[in-house]
């Protein structure tokens, strides 16, 4: 076997600023990357196996022989990290494996279960109503991202966690740095530190306050920290994770989904008139837009065969959710947006034990925001006719920085 020089391997993730924001990869990129497991070069000059088919992605993400722990030597990082960046990672269970991961995640599973999310739907509705009032007051035209897409999930996660929304500029900026692949490593490290310090003070105050407040961080402080099951540092790490995950993901889905629906006015109108179908529509939006476009990196800890390719212990692999969600063996006419297809098999929330714990919350926010938007603004349309919309190309979570709309 000959080994191809590194520079001959295609670079993952590709950057193409002219690509339509609704298309995860253009046709040429699709030809280059979609299909059987192939080797790619990463921006860190490491190599990794790219896994793009639906069945392969599911198999890989469910296989215990792949680690999510990015401190392991050889882990396929998509950006360089500052020296010592691994120093303070306690509680960040998204980067843990096995029992260590399960122990922390299970402290949260009841919080995000379907029944509890249904209970807070009135709060989501209220938040959406207020945001739509703001949009109305600001325009037309006005920016949907500033007034609706970002504040809705942000206010909801702040309310659930018991984090003051008044501090939103502080943690939104830091949250954005943490998922920006182009952010200088030192800045990432400083922002992690600042976010942890901020949440540390908040958690300490909640531990000291004892019984009173009924938010998620107060409950964990009371039920887990006081019993010695959970260290304060671990609770801080969980808080960082939940705050970040609650921010950009749903925000970007609301922005991109609105753009997509406004390009299909009949579907936008149907959203208002057939709100009962909104749950199915949400799944199709998640599949079609697949905002975690750079994929999920893992390190093989044993030899595993995926898609006919032997991935050896110590090698990196990246599960590309956006391509799996456009795999024709899993979905008919995958490049067509069809709100009436059965799209639940998508992997937009990942797969395996790390699958997004907040997905019932994300689905509810997206559904309520889009239905109420269509009801209150039936004549909504983009306020820009030409030129590029500002997109988040270097972010791990793709989306629009702004979506000017008029009505």
């Amino acid at each position: 076997m000959t080994v191809a020089p590194l520079t001959d391997l295609p670079l993952w993730p590709p950057t193409n600023l002219d690509r339509d924001p609704l298309v995860p990869l253009d046709a040429g990129e699709r030809r280059r990357f979609a299909g059987p497991v192939t080797r790619v070069r990463l921006p860190t000059d490491a190599t990794a196996w790219l896994v793009t088919r639906h069945a392969d992605v599911k198999q890989m993400l469910r296989h215990p022989g792949f680690s999510a722990d990015l401190t392991r030597p050889g882990f396929p990082l998509l950006r360089r990290l500052a020296p010592g960046a691994f120093g303070d990672r306690r509680g960040g269970f998204i980067r843990m494996d096995g029992a260590e991961h399960a122990r922390l995640r299970r402290m949260l599973t009841a919080e995000f279960m379907i029944r509890n999310v249904r209970r807070i739907e009135p709060l989501i509705r209220q938040t959406v109503d207020r945001a739509l009032d703001e949009l109305h007051a600001a325009g037309p035209p006005a920016d949907l991202v500033t007034h609706v897409a970002l504040p809705v999930p942000s206010m909801v996660i702040c309310h659930l966690l018991g984090v003051p929304y008044a501090d939103h500029e502080f943690f939104q900026e830091r949250s954005r740095t943490l998922i920006d692949r182009d952010a200088p490593p030192e800045r990432v490290q400083r922002h992690v530190r600042e976010l942890r310090d901020y949440l540390h003070r908040l958690v300490e105050a909640k531990v000291a306050a004892g019984e009173r407040a009924d938010d998620l961080l107060s409950r964990l402080a009371r039920d887990r920290v006081e019993t010695g099951e959970l260290a304060v540092d671990e609770l801080v790490g969980m808080a960082v994770l939940l705050l970040i995950a609650g921010h950009e993901t749903t925000a970007n889905m609301i922005g991109l989904s609105t753009l997509l629906l406004l390009r299909h006015p009949a579907r936008y109108a149907a959203l208002r008139d057939d709100a009962g179908h909104a749950e199915g529509l949400v799944d199709e939006l998640l599949r079609y837009l697949s905002i975690v476009r750079t994929g999920l990196p893992r390190l093989a800890t044993e030899d595993v065969e995926i898609g006919g390719r032997l991935i050896r212990a110590g090698e990196g692999a990246i599960a590309v959710l956006s391509l799996a969600n456009r795999d024709r063996t899993a979905f008919d006419r995958p490049d067509e947006f069809d709100p009436y297809r059965a799209a639940q098999q998508h992997v937009a929330f990942g797969f395996g034990v790390h699958q997004c714990i907040g997905q019932p919350l994300a689905r509810a926010e997206l559904r309520i925001a889009l239905v109420e938007l269509a009801r209150r603004f039936p004549r909504l349309r983009p306020a820009v006719t030409a030129g590029r919309l500002p997109t988040r190309d270097s972010s791990v979570v793709y989306g629009l920085d702004a979506l000017p709309v008029t009505w």
Binding site: T109, E111, Q344, I357, Q359
Partner: protein, 78 residues
């Protein structure tokens, strides 16, 4: 595929993603105490079988399994 199924859940493997509850709420529930899967009916009605199979597919942790359910009285042993 159709036919009655017998369902098993493995709470040790469950990661509380909740897909099963959305897919087949008459068969699966989540425990109020820990959010992990609870089996409401190990032998669901035949018309739920397809949804149960979908729940198996959608379970990210592989915590649900189904087996065909033997039909006791009408077995056609030669």
């Amino acid at each position: 595929m159709s036919g009655a199924v017998r369902v098993r859940v493995d709470r040790e493997r469950c990661c509380g993603a909740g897909n099963c509850v959305v897919t087949a709420p008459e068969v699966f529930d989540q425990d109020d105490a820990d959010g992990l899967v609870l089996l409401r009916r190990a032998e669901p009605p035949a018309d739920a079988a397809d949804r149960v199979r979908l729940a198996v597919e959608l379970c990210p942790a592989g915590a649900i399994t189904v087996a065909p359910r033997p039909v006791p009285e009408r077995s056609s042993t030669p």
